[in-house]
């Protein structure tokens, strides 16, 4: 194990939303800089809870969670985390455009006061360019396909120029072809920007060929290792790669 401070480190973490009912029990996990890790498992198995603990949205009942070596959500620099929430939550009533959504991702480094400065607007434009949506930058999000919406939200996460990219169920409602191109995009981002990626999904077939590790969560961690070592019955049958 490396002496370098890990990006994410969970030590003997247990958590329950109600007293006496544990969603996660004695979970330990380490993710190093530049790793691409898929956190998978059945619905209700605790994978989203694990992500919420990492993001500081929940506090562990027992054990400790460290992100960039810091304990607790508020002490962590939010600009270093690019969070991609579940897509449905962001498609509201108003016709919000790709550029407007991505601009909200610039809030942590730019602050909440006044309009965005020119330098911040340039970062937003670059983030849109990175995900290949330059020609749709001023289109309302709700007029785009599911795959394009997902790319827009990845651009939002990238707008803070993060070192950790955390994605929550990014393939929900996205067709198989777009899921495949999402996997390719994430691999490119890891290579070009050197970001650490936490990919939480019950469908991991789209990224199985590009991730370093798969962590299967079912109340605790039942598998943590390379995709090649994953027992056959646990492979996601929705995608196949040679």
């Amino acid at each position: 194990m490396s002496d370098v401070t890990p990006v994410v480190e969970l030590e003997n973490v247990s958590f329950g939303y109600r007293a006496g009912v544990r969603v996660l029990d004695d979970v330990s996990l380490r993710v190093d800089a530049g790793e691409f890790v898929a956190i998978a498992g059945p619905n209700g198995g605790g994978k989203t809870t694990l992500l919420r603990l990492v993001l500081g949205l929940e506090r562990p009942t027992e054990g400790s969670v460290r992100v960039f070596g810091q304990v607790g959500g508020k002490s962590v620099d939010g600009a270093r985390i690019g969070y991609l929430p579940q897509r449905a939550r962001l498609i509201g009533e108003a016709p919000v455009t790709v550029r407007e959504v991505v601009s909200t991702g610039r809030l942590a480094p730019a602050g909440i006061w006044g309009p965005l400065r020119r330098v911040d607007r340039e970062v937003v434009t670059r983030a849109i360019e990175t995900v290949g949506l330059t020609d749709r930058a001023d289109s309302p999000l709700r007029t785009l396909s599911g795959g394009m919406q997902q790319r827009a939200l990845i651009a939002k996460a990238l707008a803070s120029e993060p070192t950790l990219l955390a994605l929550d169920e990014p393939t929900t409602g996205v067709d198989a072809e777009s899921q495949e191109s999402l996997g390719v995009l994430l691999e490119e981002l890891r290579e070009q920007l050197g970001v650490t990626i936490l990919y939480v999904s019950h469908e991991f077939g789209a990224v199985e060929h590009v991730v370093d590790r798969i962590v299967l969560v079912r109340g605790g961690i039942v598998y943590d290792g390379p995709p090649s070592g994953l027992p056959g019955v646990w492979h996601d049958p929705s995608h196949t790669h040679a």
């Binding site: 949205l57 959500g73 985390i81 929430p85 919000v96 407007e100 006061w113």
Partner: protein, 266 residues
Amino acid sequence: MLELEFMRLALATGAIVGLLAPAVGFFLVERKASLIGDGLGHVAFAGVALGYLLGISPVLTALVAAVIGALTIEWLRTRGGTAGDQALALVFYTGIAAGVVLVSKAGALNVNLFQFLFGSILTVTRNDLWTVLVLGIGALVTIAVLFRGLVATVLDEEGSRVAGVPVTRLNVVVAVLAALTVAVSMRIVGILLIAALMVLPVIAANRVAWSLRSTFALSMAFGVSSVLAGLSIAYYADLPPGGTIVLVAAGAFALCSVGSAVARRA
């Protein structure tokens, strides 16, 4: 019409209300909390009744009551373990019940109270105009300065928390702005209808806008147009101003909906 002092006061006050109500309502609609204005109106009713009972300015007591109501709803929603609609119902019914009891106690069930409930052109004074002007401009400047943070919070509250945005404080700002809007608008539109002016221009704008910023700008344009047109119609047709303003806003929504449907088919 403009040669009359009370109409000039009503139109000037109404113009500020017409800009402010949808500007605040925009954030409530996007948070799927459109009915908060209605609940705060009922709490403001209790405040007006308290003002009559204590013999002090009903606008001031309504403002204080609405702010307390807004903060209570926000607290219940985020920390009290109560669902948003239940928090709203709790404050809504407590407010209207307190209002009924206090009005009865003050012996104020008269035409003055009805002016607050349904709005009246004649009740706007020069002092009211200055109060609305100062509070309204203050509220609009607050929204302008915090616009990006407020938008990020309504679009993705959890994501904003992860980014370290002071989400709770921004939610409190929206709650206080909503309470302020109710208090300053009740002279013109009336307590029972102010929520409509916070919501209808926004959902009309949602039908025809092409971006978040255009939705915000069109909401304010529809709001101020509805108030000015509604007040003018109310003056010439001798109609209650609050109801007329809201019917004009509802008409704008119907027109936008039809226009949007036609444009989609073309």
